[in-house]
């Protein structure tokens, strides 16, 4: 792992996007200290103003501080995205390892099931699920998690299938490692870097899906600020106050771009063409020494 860290530290492109991503994550976390006003407090004396000392980015149509709403909006959006990714990655990795490592009927069953879920267009499926269950943040998280584990499952399965052929896995088995330990010590650590790329790129994709759902009024419920919902609220003021759609729109675009580019640079670093076989053997040696 330290090899990757060193390589990452030496890569200016990765470091740039990494720092930007950290800032994007820190802003919502530090919202209570950063936001100048309460995001759901109405100031009826200042409706739709473009700019003032108290409201740096103006107010929306019901007199709420727009900058504060943008900052707090990230809380809802990012939190949902991370929860969805945590749930779907957990499900996907578990099923992927089971399918790849056990093989046989388990593999066939899981692969076919994954194919069925993939066959349904994701966004349509999520919209249908949320409409049936009723629009709320909890249901949105549930619906998005239920359809987005497939990618993780497929990637994990493929990686496990190729990794388990490696001699160091054979060596581990011959050295008397139990199955669970074999998977957790020798296989998963080598699957994880590849999944990290997938996860990073998935942040952008999930953010877009979520914003789409909010735009349709299916995710965030008022008055909770959320970027997609802010976009939908500002839509009717496209001519008189374009900032009401441009600012949340740009925030979404910026987030998606930065997380996608971070994923790209991460993939460059983890490119298997540069991975030295030595690392795997070193891991095995370390384990043997410890036991």
């Amino acid at each position: 792992m330290s090899y990757y860290v060193k390589k990452a530290l030496r890569d200016p492109q990765f470091m740039l996007f990494f720092c930007l991503a950290v800032i994007l994550i820190l802003i919502p976390i530090l919202a209570p200290w950063l936001a100048p006003n309460d995001p759901i407090e109405n100031d009826y004396a200042n409706l739709m103003i473009a700019h003032s000392d108290k409201y740096p980015l103006g107010t929306d149509q019901i007199g709420r501080c727009f900058l504060s709403r943008l900052i707090y909006g990230g809380r809802t959006s990012m939190l949902i995205v991370f929860i969805v990714i945590a749930i779907s990655a957990s499900i996907g990795i578990l099923l992927g390892v089971l399918a790849g490592y056990l093989g046989g009927k388990t593999d066939t069953f899981i692969t076919r099931f994954t194919d069925i879920v993939i066959a349904v267009p994701q966004t349509v499926f999520v919209i249908a699920l949320v409409s049936v269950m009723g629009p709320s943040l909890r249901n949105t998280i549930l619906a998005m998690s239920l359809v987005s584990w497939t990618e993780y499952c497929r990637v994990t399965r493929a990686l496990v299938l190729s990794l388990k052929q490696n001699t160091y896995v054979e060596e581990g088995r011959m050295a008397g490692m139990r199955e669970m330990r074999l998977v957790s010590r020798l296989i998963l650590p080598n699957v994880f870097p590849h999944l990290l790329v997938l996860i990073t790129q998935d942040i952008g994709a999930k953010l877009l899906t979520l914003s789409g759902l909010s735009l349709l009024g299916l995710a965030s419920q008022p008055p909770t600020p959320e970027w997609g919902y802010m976009l939908s609220e500002g839509r009717q003021f496209m001519q008189s106050a374009p900032r009401l759609i441009f600012l949340p729109g740009m925030t979404i675009v910026l987030n998606v771009i930065i997380f996608n580019l971070l994923g790209d640079s991460l993939r460059d670093i983890l490119d298997p063409r540069f991975i030295k076989k030595k690392t795997h053997r070193r891991q095995l040696k370390q384990w043997l020494e410890n036991t």
């Binding site: 739709m48 103006g58 019901i62 008022p222």
Partner: protein, 538 residues
Amino acid sequence: MARKHLKILALVLAAMMLLSACGGSSGAETPAPADSGAKPAESSQSTQASQPAAPAAPAASGPKHLNAAIYWTAATIDPAVDYDGWTSCRAGITETLVWVNENLELKPLLADSWEQPDPSTWVMHIRDGVTFHNGNAVDAAACKASLERTMEINSRAVTTAKIESIEADGQNLTIHTSEPFGAFLFCLSEPLYSIIDVNDPADPATNPVGTGPFKCLSFKAEELIELEAYKDYWNGASPIDTVSLYVISDDSTRAVALQAGQIDMGQRIGAADIETLKNDSDYAVYEASGTRLQVLALNHTNQFLSDVNVRKALACCINYDAMVAITGGLYAVAGAPYPASAPYGYDQLDRQHYDLEAAKKCLADAGFADSDGNGYLEKNGKELAFTLGYADKSLATALEAVQSMAKAVGIKLTLQPVDTEPDLNEDNFEIFAKNWQSLSTGDPQWMLDNMYKTGGVSNAAQYSNATVDALCDELTGAFEFADRQRITIAAEEQILTDCVHVYLFSKNNFVMANNKVSGVTVFPIDYYFLTNTIDING
């Protein structure tokens, strides 16, 4: 390396877009529309005589064509079907025996005079010289045939005006009602009772042969109605030769169509476009206070809403002036069952108004207190919480404001958007944002009977009050306007005392047009739109 450059380029572009967005918005923005409600309406310049006046003689230049837009059609424009006649009336194809003018006064139209030999009988004289679009003369027999056809097709036509039988004799039309009915003439002004030539072979669903200033050439539902001016119109032919009446349901699309020059005039404007169009000298915005009320319908069978103190607290916690400012001048303050534009005592009533202290006191009197310190009140361990349903998505922001206003006194409202508006009944709602046509025919009785009388068909709140019931019955037999006014105001007082619903605001009616269009009148009741006075230059 090329990849890296691409990424940097993408980032720079994103940053530039962000910057330009911030810059552009602050420049283009208009000041807060807080006082737009008080701004004098441009409609004053267009007020015309209470009866459509004869227009100026048409100019000698080539044929004049007008592109206009309305926001709705049903599958047909047959006046007898459902509410489809509202479209044929907007298009100026059909006319009724009487009509309600821009001051909400009842005026003669096809019938030029009437008398009442006994309380249940009306003798109406049909105007001489009126012809249908096919040239046939309009007499009492034609009116009888048209009204009887309508009553056969639409049960609403029988119940609304309580017509029992009709007799025709030359130009005299005699109508017997099932009981003495004070609102009879007002009811006849609804487009449902439009007069068409039932003997014409044309299909009324797509081509009703009426008496209005425009005749229908073709009709495509939810798309386009092609019209041609009827040169023998009894009240003076329109100076325009042809009209394409488009159907554009989305408010902003209609406004953009006007700005793009696709249409010359359109009915109804969205809140966001009012200021833009008013500030642009190329366009004129005509407005009149309308008769549609935006109401928070309260379900009185709810355990908390059955308490008048809770209902009063809801009514008092709302900052009505702020609500009007939020909606950008689209609405006017209401606070009473009938809007300010109606002659039913708006100014003398003790209307619902913003009073935070009164709201808090009402809730304290009702026994509510915030025992767990979460900002919302409770009583007997139950939180004072309601779901607030709505179907009109353009209200979402205004209702968010209502939500935060209710929170200020400790009432928790959860907004619940629904796709299609349900037929409300006592089991399917707690609070619902309803849009009511309070004076659909210029008369208050329809609303009182349906919404407030015990057992009324639209009384989903299950409101019941003996005084209001008695006043409704008294209203049925009252023929003099002063009597009807007095009875209605008495009913309103009782309704406000009981705080039956929360009356948020009344909707203003808007017509937008470019500068080439003249002679536009906007009416409080929105089923009038195209008239014979509208002209277009250039």
